[in-house]
């Protein structure tokens, strides 16, 4: 029996006989799915600039930046926004300074750089990006975080944006501090139909006072590297409340956000983790316990991360959290959380046990087998459209200096992809998923979305001091899928926070529309469900306003736009 036939046999067996044996049987077999880096032919050839290429003096130069898949022109095709940084030592000529870039999808696999025309060409130490229609005008806006003042790009609906950060009161500028803003997310935390904004903070960084490598000296495996973050004062996160008039108010103190001691916040996840209909906020913190702000339904939050079991590793230790995502990977009706960490550690997989308690199942699930990668971007995506969320991890060492030693997996690292075996376990299938996964890069933020609208989820990766990767998923599988674009009316227009249940037979998947996530990045706001061989599904939407809406998919392998009933 040839391998193709054997695979087909295994797949059909899995569908016919239930899922319990599929993982074991499929283990070790190649998958007819591969990811191919098409960035260059797509027109994404500009390098992201971020600190020194060979050596870094400050930690600020190491952490890199995010990426976004966002349909800014509402044409149904995902456009791309790539955050850019700069260099301390560089003296760029006017017009040559690196800027964040916006690329319009040409609907033929290529993109056009529309940065200048769109008015989003800003230089500086860009960090993260998140999107949401904060003024409910039907056009997705962008918030871009920086070390220093952030930008709120209001989408004017004509292909241009206007930076409203200062006017809206979300620049994060303070008289005394220069905040190192990182992950962000639009979230309607009070469910008033208007998107509020959460911004994580790493440290309050001042190069004049920050320790330099030789002042320690700070060493990693005997190599002098940038110092921190342990030993530096962690930053405080900010929550902005949307006033409904184009401005925001900093409610961090009132909302209880400032009660959490200074942390080194990076990835942000806004998600209803306790199924109470109110969004909670999880922050992956570097080198300390993570934060989980539980929504108290009254405009305040309580940090419950430690007692919930989602702050530390399985053995109760602090980790260097970077990126974060959630999905109901075991389809039990509760959102679980994946978090990337430093090299020498494993990725965390917090299984939601209900009642806001979690158990790190990294080892039992099969994620403990990889410790040599340093993870950044993270996402649950169903790359094989079988209806079970898989895990995609984007890696790269933090210190460019390690490239000299060949330590661990080096500075540039490949991706890691785990396939969901449908029994609580995952299988590392990275080596069978093609050159896009195998190529070693200095990966940081990554976003997920089907940029070519061919029915499988692609990945956009921002790399440090290298061009980005656009990993097109080429699947030979014939599994079905459905995609939903939600438009809120009573709820916020982007439908951020809306939860969708997708039922095929006894199998129920669950997703939420989410702003921010992964590592400082923004994935497609539309929801993509793999359906396996199911030819239809029933959909139930739980809107942030509290209303519920049911519909049948009808034909599959298409996108459905659903507007919230008034």
């Amino acid at each position: 029996m040839g391998s193709i036939n054997r695979r087909a046999f295994v797949r059909s067996l899995a569908r016919a006989a239930g899922v319990f044996a599929f993982g074991d049987l499929a283990s070790g077999l190649g998958l007819p799915v591969e990811f191919v880096n098409v960035a260059r032919e797509a027109g994404l050839h500009r390098k992201t600039i971020f600190g020194g290429e060979a050596k870094n003096r400050y930690l600020l130069e190491t952490t890199g930046c995010g990426a976004a898949f966002v349909d800014f022109d509402n044409d149904g095709w995902l456009d791309i926004f790539l955050v850019n940084g700069t260099r301390f030592e560089a003296n760029f000529a006017p017009g040559d300074a690196p800027v964040s870039r916006l690329y319009k999808n040409n609907r033929d696999g290529t993109f056009t750089d529309v940065t200048l025309k769109a008015g989003v060409a800003r230089t500086g130490w860009g960090q993260g990006v998140c999107s949401g229609d904060y003024d409910n005008d039907g056009w997705e806006d962008l918030y871009v975080t920086y070390w220093g003042d952030c930008s709120l790009y209001h989408n004017n609906g004509d292909g241009t944006f206007t930076d409203m950060a200062v006017k809206a009161g979300v620049s994060t500028r303070t008289p005394k501090l220069r905040r190192w803003n990182t992950g962000c997310a639009f979230v309607d935390y009070d469910r008033d139909g208007r998107l509020d904004l959460f911004v994580a903070n790493y440290i309050d960084f001042d190069p004049k006072t920050a320790p330099a490598p030789e002042s320690g000296p700070c060493l990693y495996q005997g190599i002098m590297v940038a110092c921190g973050p342990p030993g530096l004062q962690g930053g405080k996160n900010i929550l902005f409340h949307n006033n409904g008039d184009g401005t925001f108010t900093d409610v961090s103190a009132r909302a209880g956000i400032l009660k959490t001691p200074g942390t080194y916040g990076l990835g942000v996840l806004a998600c209803d983790l306790d199924n109470d209909g109110w969004p909670d906020i999880y922050v992956a913190n570097d080198s300390t316990s993570s934060t989980l702000y539980r929504n108290n339904h009254d405009g305040t939050f309580t940090d419950v991360a430690i007692e919930s079991g989602i702050a530390y590793s399985a053995d109760g230790k602090s980790q260097a959290g970077m990126g974060v995502d959630s999905a109901d990977y075991d389809c039990d009706g509760l959102f679980d959380v994946v978090k990337t960490n430093f090299a020498g550690d494993t990725t965390s997989l917090y299984r939601n046990q209900g009642n806001m308690t979690f158990d790190d199942q990294a080892f039992q699930s099969g994620l403990g087998r990889n410790t040599r990668f340093l993870g950044w971007g993270a996402g649950f995506l169903d790359f094989d459209n079988d209806g079970w969320p898989d895990i995609f991890l984007c890696n790269g060492h933090v210190y460019p200096e390690v490239r000299e030693t060949g330590a661990q997996s080096g500075y540039r690292q490949r991706k890691v992809v785990y396939r969901n075996l449908r029994n609580g376990r995952f299988e590392d299938v990275s080596e069978s998923l093609g050159p896009g996964i195998a190529e070693a890069v200095s990966g940081r933020g990554c976003a997920f979305g089907d940029f070519d609208n061919d029915g499988d989820v692609d990945v956009l990766v921002n790399c440090v001091n290298a061009p980005p990767q656009l990993l097109r998923c080429d699947s030979g599988l014939k599994n079905n899928w459905i995609r939903l674009k939600l438009i809120g009316t009573r709820s916020n227009r982007s439908a951020i926070g809306a939860r969708v249940y997708c039922r095929t037979g006894d199998h129920v998947q669950m997703q939420e529309v989410r702003s921010g996530g992964s590592y400082l990045s923004q994935s497609d706001l539309r929801l993509h469900f793999g359906l396996g061989d199911a030819r239809d599904c029933s959909i139930e939407i739980q809107w942030p306003s509290g209303s519920r809406q049911k519909l049948a998919s009808g034909a599959v392998n298409r996108m459905i736009t659903v507007t919230e009933t008034k």
């Binding site: 495996q221 030993g231 530390y312 109760g316 699930s365 060949g406």
Partner: protein
């Protein structure tokens, strides 16, 4: 004072001085019995001389007539309770007679009577080192080194004490001083190189090992340590190659199997890593670290049962192995044996309360068992330990000592 008077009398008498001089000459020429006779004669003449009693005791002890010797030391001490050499010699005799507890007491007495005698502190420090009292040993040996910096053996012993206390920088410096006096001591050079590796000077460590191998090409310790240096540098492929080479020549070397297993584990080659750990245990079943590391490998592989089995083996072989108790507790929690997990974690905390990890895990277990107060207390303790550690790190960064922060 009586002793002092006796000594003055002895020195005052030319005849006595001659007799004593003869006795010392007999000692030097190895004629112990004749020397004993001479000192016995002196002791008879001067029954209140602690020194003569001590000399007799010393000669008897040297002749392995320990019980007779001890009686003379005791007599010397009763004659002159502040006569430190008697206590010192008695301590040494007791040590040689395997009465370690009493030996330590008497050696301490000698040091207290004569705190500026380097030799007493050296011997006391060495005895403490031998009995696993590393902190006290390091104090005595450091003092001995200060009193007599020209004794290479003191520096070596101090290095060993510091190494045992995991103060690798201090151990490195002590071994470096010891090497100044004994540069041909390859074992000492190995220790020095090993400490260099442990203080993130892997390349300097490798240079030491290579120097050893130039003189003694089959020095297994140096060969293994080169591999260990590669491990510390994160150069895993070179580490694997080095350990593999060592094992080709000496397949029965448990430590090389263990180190090879460690390198393979760091490469995430868990199957082969487990094989090497098992091989190390076959060769040396007492290697508790191999049980522990094999347990961690099994943990990484998702095999909770086997993790528990290995951690149990580690804690049975070494009941004070805090990390193994900690990991046993963690694994038992995953198996939902909350009672067993709590007991193991409490034992880990008892042995080493400086790690917030076991407190956090214990707190989660107590919460699951409905003990809210216990849970809060454990979380609070963990938070306090974490806060202090973070504060310490901040101070280190401000002060600027060599530290790798990740």
């Amino acid at each position: 004072m009586r002793g002092v008077t006796a000594l003055i009398l002895v020195l005052a008498s030319p005849l006595v001085a001659q007799t004593e001089s003869d006795a010392q000459a007999l000692v030097r020429s190895g004629k112990v019995e004749e020397a004993l006779s001479a000192y016995n004669a002196l002791a008879k003449e001067f029954p209140q001389s602690a020194r003569y009693e001590d000399e007799i005791g010393f000669l008897l002890a040297a002749s392995k007539r320990t019980s007779e010797a001890l009686a003379h030391f005791v007599r010397a001490e009763s004659i002159e309770p502040s006569y430190a050499p008697a206590f010192y010699h008695e301590g040494v005799a007791l040590w040689l007679n395997h009465d370690r507890q009493r030996a330590l007491e008497v050696l301490r007495k000698a040091v207290s009577l004569s705190p500026s005698t380097a030799e007493y502190r050296w011997r006391l420090g060495s005895a403490l080192l031998e009995t696993g009292q590393y902190r006290s040993a390091a104090v005595e040996l450091a003092e001995a080194a200060k009193l007599n910096p020209q004794n290479g053996a003191v520096w070596q012993a101090l290095g060993m004490a510091d190494q045992q206390m995991q103060d690798f920088a201090a151990a490195r410096d002590a071994y470096a001083r010891a090497l100044e006096f004994d540069p041909a001591n390859l074992s000492l050079r190995n220790s020095y190189g090993f400490m260099l590796v442990n203080t993130r000077e892997a390349d300097a460590g490798i240079a030491q090992f290579e120097r050893i191998l130039r003189e003694r090409p089959d020095d297994t310790a140096a060969q293994v340590n080169i591999g260990f240096a590669y491990l510390q540098k994160g150069e895993l492929d070179r580490a694997v190659a080095q350990f593999t080479r060592v094992l080709e020549a000496q397949p029965g070397l448990a430590v090389a199997h263990y180190d090879l297993g460690l390198a393979l584990k760091q490469k995430d080659d868990l199957g082969k890593a487990a094989d090497e750990m098992r091989r190390a245990l076959e060769i040396d079943p007492r290697m508790v670290e191999a049980h522990y590391t094999l347990g961690i490998i099994k943990w990484q592989s998702g095999d909770v049962e086997q993790t528990i089995a290995e951690m149990r083996a580690a804690t049975e072989a070494s009941p004070d192995y805090a990390q193994a108790w900690y990991m046993l507790g963690t694994a038992l929690k995953q198996k939902h044996d909350l009672e067993g997990a709590a007991a193991a974690l409490r034992r880990a905390i008892e042995l080493d309360g400086s790690d917030p990890g076991p407190y956090n895990t214990l707190a989660l277990i107590l919460r699951q068992r409905g003990d809210e107060k216990g849970s809060r207390d454990a979380f609070a303790k963990a938070a306090e330990i974490k806060r202090v550690a973070e504060q310490h790190q901040a101070e280190l960064l401000k002060q600027g000592p060599a530290r790798g922060l990740h």
